[in-house]
């Protein structure tokens, strides 16, 4: 292998979408561990150099994205539509799913105290959550989990990167 870092960049460029570490490892005939640490090196190097294209982790996948500091130039030239807005109600529902996944609608409504059908549908439509299965309980309610799009939207590599829940917040009045 000439240079694993360069090969990974080339793969990510063609893929566009996020590519799983195991797929890259298979293509490069390297171990997932080697690929994973190389990706970390790549992320650190590109971040330090402030390059226009950055490498990002999306769950157990890797993807190229632009560097946000160059956003004004991209907007000036291409005038992309602004990213969708998540309403406050939907973001509340989303946070409950993110921190407790997989969860049922009932569990979300238990916390929010209101019906969440609309916000769940809105989140499904935006591909921020998906139905991961059904809970083995009476009525077999659907279970919801967050997607890779959720990670991308919030610019995090995994849900573990979300700020820890402030359990003391509930005690303040």
């Amino acid at each position: 292998m000439e240079n694993i870092e360069n090969a990974i960049e080339a793969i990510l460029f063609v893929a566009g979408d996020a590519v799983s570490l195991s797929d890259i490892a298979m293509a490069l005939e390297e171990s997932v561990l080697t690929v994973s640490s190389t990706v970390d090196d790549l992320i650190i190097r590109r971040k330090a150099d402030g390059t226009g294209i950055q490498v990002r982790r999306v769950g157990d996948k890797v993807q190229l994205s632009t560097n946000e500091i160059y956003e004004p130039y991209i907007k000036k030239l291409f005038m992309p539509e602004n990213k969708y807005v998540i309403t406050n109600a939907a973001i509340e529902t989303l946070s409950i799913i993110a921190y407790n996944q997989p969860v049922t609608r009932g569990q979300i409504e238990q916390i929010r105290g209101v019906s969440c059908t609309y916000s769940i549908n809105a989140l499904l439509n935006k591909s921020l959550i998906y139905e991961s299965g059904r809970k083995e309980t009476i009525g077999h309610p659907k279970l919801y989990m967050t997607t890779d799009e959720f990670l991308r939207h919030f610019g995090i590599a995994s849900v573990d990167d979300l700020p820890k829940l402030d359990m003391a917040a509930g005690d303040e009045t």
Binding site: F13, V14, A15, G16, D17, Q54, R56, Q63, L64, S65, T66, N67, E68, I69, E71, I74, P80, N82, K83, I86, N88, I91, E92, L94, S95, I96, A98, Y99, Q110, I111, R112, G113, R152, H153, F154, G155, I156, L162, P163, L165, D166, M167, A169, G170, D171, E172
Partner: protein, 168 residues
């Protein structure tokens, strides 16, 4: 009525006030979490991702021999679904009974003619002039019979691709 004292001997008893407070606390925790998630969203909003490159894939020619009837049945269901919507769209104000409904023999002849003229055709094309369920069913039966007598062969290059019908 005997007076029920709630404080006595009920381990499962949950004070509604306490329950409400604990629910409000839980809600406040997530409300706070939303506030903390917002900056992440704002930071990420300036990043752009590209779409996958479109490049031709190397496709092996697949023969669907062996799975032919399954695939045909799926395609048949698709045509039926189209008819369902067609029929709903049409409003029936009068009912007419046709004297000679189409027969399998007619349809076999029809398919044979198409194949003879064009050499091959797609599965969907066979149903282009068909507007009733009976017609679809008969055309499908005719197709199966022609397959059975080895007059036709059915090919699909890859999954979900059009089904090509040609002479053996």
């Amino acid at each position: 009525m005997p007076h029920h004292d709630e404080d006595v001997d009920d381990e499962d008893y949950i004070d509604p006030e306490e329950e409400l407070i604990s629910r409000l606390k839980a809600y406040k925790i997530y409300k706070e979490a939303c506030v903390n998630m917002k900056p992440f969203e704002a930071d990420a909003s300036g990043r752009f991702f590209k779409l996958p490159l479109e490049y031709p894939f190397e496709i092996d020619d697949l023969s669907i021999a062996g799975a032919t009837t399954d695939k045909l049945y799926t395609a048949f269901k698709k045509v039926m679904a189209r008819l369902n919507t067609l029929e709903i769209e049409q409003s029936y104000t009068e009912v007419a009974f046709e004297k000679d409904p189409v027969t399998v023999r007619d349809r076999k002849k029809y398919i044979r003619n198409i194949i003879k003229k064009k050499g091959k055709t797609s599965f969907d094309m066979l149903f282009e002039d068909v507007y009733t369920k009976l017609h679809v069913a008969i055309t499908f039966l005719a197709l199966l019979e022609l397959l059975h007598v080895n007059f036709l062969k059915v090919e699909q290059k890859r999954a979900f691709d059009i089904i090509i019908i040609s002479k053996v």
